[in-house]
């Protein structure tokens, strides 16, 4: 069978899965990479129970499209229809076949194959999902114009299933995931002018995607055009995405402007907006400012959540105000939030920065006693801190624990650890750490080796200058 493209693998929708585990079939939904399951009608659980074990031995050999030519696929389908008793009446089965074929054929062939399927096996009447299979394929086609997409959309309309919001969403997401944002925008505008505007999910998806992959101006002009052309305005979520984005690119002025716009539009910032702003300050290395945001939240009566406290503690730790950070650890527990690994790790990071890695290790014990499991980031932070403070033996013990649990090393702590080992002349152990880094796939061979090589080079130089033994 043709391999599914990775984007669809998560959709868990392939003929081979249908065959191997008939019982899992009812859970398989729709051939779409979209993450909005709530849009789809819940299918009844029963109909596929009929794909029974007596047909099972025959199916695997039959439904595999080794060849991508249309005629072979037709022959295959014909033999499937004539040789299999108890053909499933459920559309999912046929949709899966179509999807399997479409994953390595051209759109035209897929359409012809669909027509063939209908002709040979009239009980099968294509539904919305059938056409969405084609729609996805059209969005991925090598043709960089929108004409294949139009072809499918027209096909849908002429067959009495006019595209709806889900279709728009699928098309937009597929286009965006194949780096064709411009066409996604074009399509959205076109559909908006045809009275099927995108819903807020689609709209915000595009905005978020543009933020990540295109210059700011592209997104701004998209928002402007949607507002002026179709009266579709950004909502609070959109503004949060935009603020987050400009904060990530350290553009504080734009963030402030957006905050102004937000309140002009009549939105009241919620917890998420404030969290984003806090994060922004952390990104800008102005972690101390998080306190003022927190105060503002309290003035406005917005209730902080776990993320707020985590960000707060992170920001304070980062800017060296560990004492305040510790205070907020207590405050959040009083408020009924349970500190998680992120909270503790941020705090430990701050303590290590302050040169108190032993206190951080004590906190590790405390957090474990409270039933919060540390993650690899926690251990990396501690390893880094201990090595920096030249407490190599303790670091070594920690490293052994990490190894036992199969935790990955991070680039930073790996480098610090290597240097600490080499400084004490424990080169063989450094080599062993190098092996572990590669074996546990913490780093690529190249990254692990470059660090090792440069550390050894540094050691040689330091020895020549008599700095280390």
């Amino acid at each position: 069978m043709g391999k599914l493209p990775p984007s669809l693998r998560s959709a868990n929708f392939a003929v081979n899965t249908l065959i191997k585990t008939p019982s899992s079939v009812p859970h398989q939904n729709i051939p779409s990479p979209t993450s909005k399951p709530h849009y789809y009608p819940k299918k009844s659980q029963s109909p596929k129970k009929k794909a029974p074990s007596n047909t099972e031995p025959q199916l695997p050999s039959i439904v595999s499209f080794d060849s991508t030519t249309l005629s072979d696929a037709k022959t295959l389908f014909n033999s499937l229809i004539s040789n299999t008793r108890n053909l499933p009446s459920d559309n999912k089965f046929y949709n899966a076949i179509l999807q399997s074929f479409s994953s390595n054929s051209t759109l035209q062939d897929s359409i012809l194959f669909l027509n063939h399927m209908i002709k040979v096996h009239p009980p099968f009447s294509p539904d919305r999902f059938t056409y969405h299979v084609l729609l996805i394929q059209s969005c991925k086609s090598a043709d960089l114009s929108l004409s294949p997409v139009h072809q499918v959309l027209n096909l849908m309309t002429s067959n009495g299933i006019p595209p709806n919001k889900v279709s728009t969403d699928i098309a937009v997401r597929t286009l965006c995931s194949s780096d064709r944002e411009e066409q996604a925008i074009e399509l959205v505008k076109e559909l908006s002018s045809k009275d099927s505007p995108p819903d807020t999910y689609t709209y915000n998806f595009i905005v978020r995607h543009l933020c990540k992959n295109r210059p700011l101006s592209t997104m701004n002009s998209f928002i402007k055009e949607m507002r002026e052309g179709f009266d579709i305005k950004p909502d609070l979520v959109t503004y949060t995405i935009m603020i987050d984005n400009v904060c990530n690119s350290k553009n504080l002025r734009e963030a402030t402007r957006l905050l102004g716009v937000l309140s002009e539009e009549g939105y009241k910032p919620d917890c998420y907006v404030y969290n984003t702003i806090m994060k922004g300050y952390c990104m800008l290395s102005q972690g101390g400012e998080v306190l003022s945001v927190y105060k503002k939240m309290q003035e406005e009566g917005v209730k902080p959540d776990l993320v707020t406290y985590n960000t707060l503690i992170y920001g304070l730790s980062k800017s060296g105000r560990v004492k305040d950070a510790k205070k907020f650890l207590n405050v959040m527990m009083e408020e009924g939030h349970i500190p998680d690994a992120v909270t503790y790790t941020s705090l430990m990071n701050g303590m290590c920065r302050e040169g108190d890695p032993l206190g951080a290790v004590a906190l590790l014990e405390k957090m474990e006693a409270r039933g919060c499991a540390p993650n690899s980031c926690t251990y990396n932070t501690l390893l880094h801190g201990l090595c920096k403070a030249r407490l190599l033996d303790k670091g070594m013990k920690l490293y052994d624990v990490m190894k036992q649990n199969g935790m990955k090393l991070e680039t930073g702590s790996y480098g610090t650890f290597l240097r600490a080992l080499c400084r004490q002349g424990r080169v063989a152990e450094a080599y062993e750490v190098f092996d572990y880094a590669i074996e546990s796939k913490s780093l690529t061979d190249v990254a692990a080796y470059t660090t090792l090589e440069s550390t050894l080079k540094w050691l040689k130089k330091a020895r020549e200058q008599g700095l280390v033994i």
């Binding site: 991070e410 680039t411 930073g412 080499c422 002349g425 424990r426 080169v427 063989a428 152990e429 080599y431 092996d435 913490s442 780093l443 690529t444 061979d445 190249v446 990254a447 080796y449 470059t450 090792l452 090589e453 050894l456 080079k457 050691l459 040689k460």
Partner: protein, 100 residues
């Protein structure tokens, strides 16, 4: 974390990365040791290091030293004993900078 670093390595010095991972035609001495005619500097280093581990060539009293056997001697300048610290440098000698 990782991809960023990779990116950094690459953008900082594409040539440096290239001379680490590009396959090179090996000189005859190294060819015999590796059992193949082409390898990268990184591959060679990993092969030598695993050879040392497989044959327990590290000095039992000081693990930082490697007591070379005949085969290893042939590729490491004929030294009877090398330090692990200088291993990358010694291997680099077999991979001279390519004149462009």
């Amino acid at each position: 974390m990782l991809p960023q670093r990779m990116k950094k390595v690459i953008t900082d010095n594409p040539k440096k990365l290239a001379n680490l991972i590009d396959l090179v035609n090996l000189p005859s001495t190294l060819r015999e040791f590796m059992g193949q005619s082409q390898t990268s500097r990184l591959g060679c280093f990993k092969r030598v290091w695993s050879y040392i581990k497989e044959n327990n060539l590290q000095d039992p009293s000081n693990k930082n030293l490697v007591n070379c056997d005949e085969k290893l001697k042939s590729i490491l300048l004929g030294k009877p004993q090398v330090e692990l610290t200088e291993l990358p440098t010694l291997i680099k000698l077999h991979f001279p900078k390519q004149p462009r």
